[in-house]
């Protein structure tokens, strides 16, 4: 689609080579600085990462944060979809929702995190923050998608008296596909980053955020970098997995 027009014309190998080069620049800079406090070498980060992978605590922290952020994401997906359906049916709902959606979109995440710390206990803070990040994105995209649904197909369904569930499955869902994919890939990354930010500020025990906070307290660059690598890796995996499931779901629907 549009991505293929925008995508630069380099291959996997070009990218791999560029990443390798960037790592070399990093290594060189770290060696020249000669201060592990300011900048660790990529080799040190890799070593620390392997150490972490051997610890039981590591998996506990990842599990803690992952479960909460995924829960927040899924709740946000459900709530955003529901609100989009309501707004598409009743203009009044859209008007009434507008201030909330705009407020969530424009307020800095940090303000929300601190505000929510006053309301909620820190253990479940990331659920709520991830939820908040997802709702407006899903809402806005799906509402647009619903509005763009081909009126001629909807008329066809009306003439034939097709039931609402079948309209959703066979008319709305296929037409919503690009909107859903966009909403999911944008909000997945965002909810994950914002969720971790919430944990760094709220410091719930046994979370990834707590480990990042400790890295700051003990001035451990190696830990900070290693955990960052972990966060990025999980974020990418999570996004790929979710999009794969979505594509699978669509493929199954089309095989009927």
């Amino acid at each position: 689609m549009t991505a293929s027009i925008m995508a630069p014309k380099f291959t996997k190998w070009h990218r791999l080579a560029a990443v390798g080069l960037a790592l070399c620049v990093w290594q060189l800079a770290a060696v020249l600085l000669a201060s592990p406090l300011l900048l660790v070498t990529p080799v040190q980060v890799a070593l620390r990462l392997f150490q972490l992978l051997g610890e039981g605590d590591f998996y506990a922290s990842v599990g803690f944060s992952l479960a909460r952020i995924i829960a927040g994401f899924l709740l946000g997906l459900a709530a955003g979809s529901l609100l989009a359906v309501l707004a598409s049916r009743w203009p009044l709902a859209e008007v009434l929702l507008w201030p909330y959606i705009t407020a969530i979109k424009t307020t800095p995440v940090a303000s929300f995190i601190i505000l929510c710390l006053i309301w909620l206990d820190s253990a479940n803070l990331s659920v709520f923050i991830a939820f908040l990040m997802v709702v407006p994105i899903v809402y806005t995209n799906l509402l647009e998608g619903i509005r763009e649904t081909d009126p001629k197909l909807l008329q066809m369904a009306r003439v034939f008296g097709v039931r609402p569930l079948r309209r959703v499955l066979y008319i709305y869902l296929p037409q919503l596909r690009p909107y859903l994919l966009t909403a999911a890939s944008v909000s997945l990354g965002l909810s994950w980053k914002a969720g971790i930010a919430a944990e760094v500020i709220g410091i719930p025990e046994g979370s990834i955020g707590e480990r990042l906070y400790e890295a700051k307290v003990y001035l451990s660059s190696a830990d900070l970098f290693a955990w960052t690598v972990v966060i990025i890796a999980i974020s990418i995996l999570f996004e790929k997995l979710f999009l794969l499931l979505l594509q699978r779901g669509y493929a199954r629907l089309q095989r009927r």
Binding site: K152, L153, Q155, M156, R158, V159, F160, G161, V162, R163, R166, Y170, I171, P174, Q254, R256
Partner: protein
């Protein structure tokens, strides 16, 4: 089943009259062919009959509750198979029955192909099967045979007439030959003269 009666239907778009005092009777259980030059308002009348467009004035009586249609455009679910599309208006129908109908219009090999991959004439036939399979007492078909070659057209016309026997049909067509084969009453829609009636 009653005759469908149109009584002085009027419709204009932005002040331009398209239908002016259209009165007609569509006899119950029979085929009525609607003819008229391009732009004279046939599709507009079809949309009014299907309840997709309100008439400005006039009345319709005898319209059954359950309708079926072949629209001027195919209006298929592009990503889905010909079988799903053909059975879309009647989900209770077993797939095997739907497939047999597709076979009857020469689409046996296309039953599993997504609609988007079908040719124009194949899509048209899927739309016709969908309309035939819908449980309805009144079928409105807007140029249903457009894009079909002579042999296929004949096959599909025979299929349509056999499968809709006893139902009320309104068929929009540009071809006097088609109208003659279909039989029934002929309804001519004349374009509105600039001076009015």
């Amino acid at each position: 089943m009653q005759d469908i009666v149109l009584d002085r239907i009027c419709k204009s778009f932005d002040g331009t009259p398209v239908l002016q005092n259209i009165s007609a009777v569509l006899p119950a259980g029979q085929i009525t062919c609607l003819m008229g030059p391009s732009g004279c308002g046939k599709t507009t009348l079809v949309n009014i009959l299907l309840g997709l467009l309100p008439a400005d004035s006039g009345a319709m009586t005898g319209l059954p509750r359950r309708l079926s249609a072949v629209f001027q455009e195919d209006r298929l679910l592009e990503e889905f198979s010909a079988t799903l599309n053909a059975g879309f208006a009647n989900p209770k129908l077993p797939r095997a029955v739907v497939r047999n109908h597709l076979k009857a219009v020469g689409l046996a090999d296309a039953a599993d192909s997504p609609a988007v991959t079908l040719s124009g004439g194949m899509k048209r036939r899927v739309a016709i099967v969908r309309a035939v399979l819908a449980t309805a007492d009144f079928l409105v078909l807007d140029e249903p045979f457009k894009g079909l070659d002579d042999d296929t057209r004949r096959l599909v016309m025979d299929y349509l007439m056999a499968e809709t026997r006893g139902k009320t049909l309104l068929v929009v067509t540009h071809s006097a030959r088609e109208a003659a084969i279909l039989g029934g009453t002929l309804l001519r829609l004349a374009p509105i003269a600039p001076t009015g009636e």
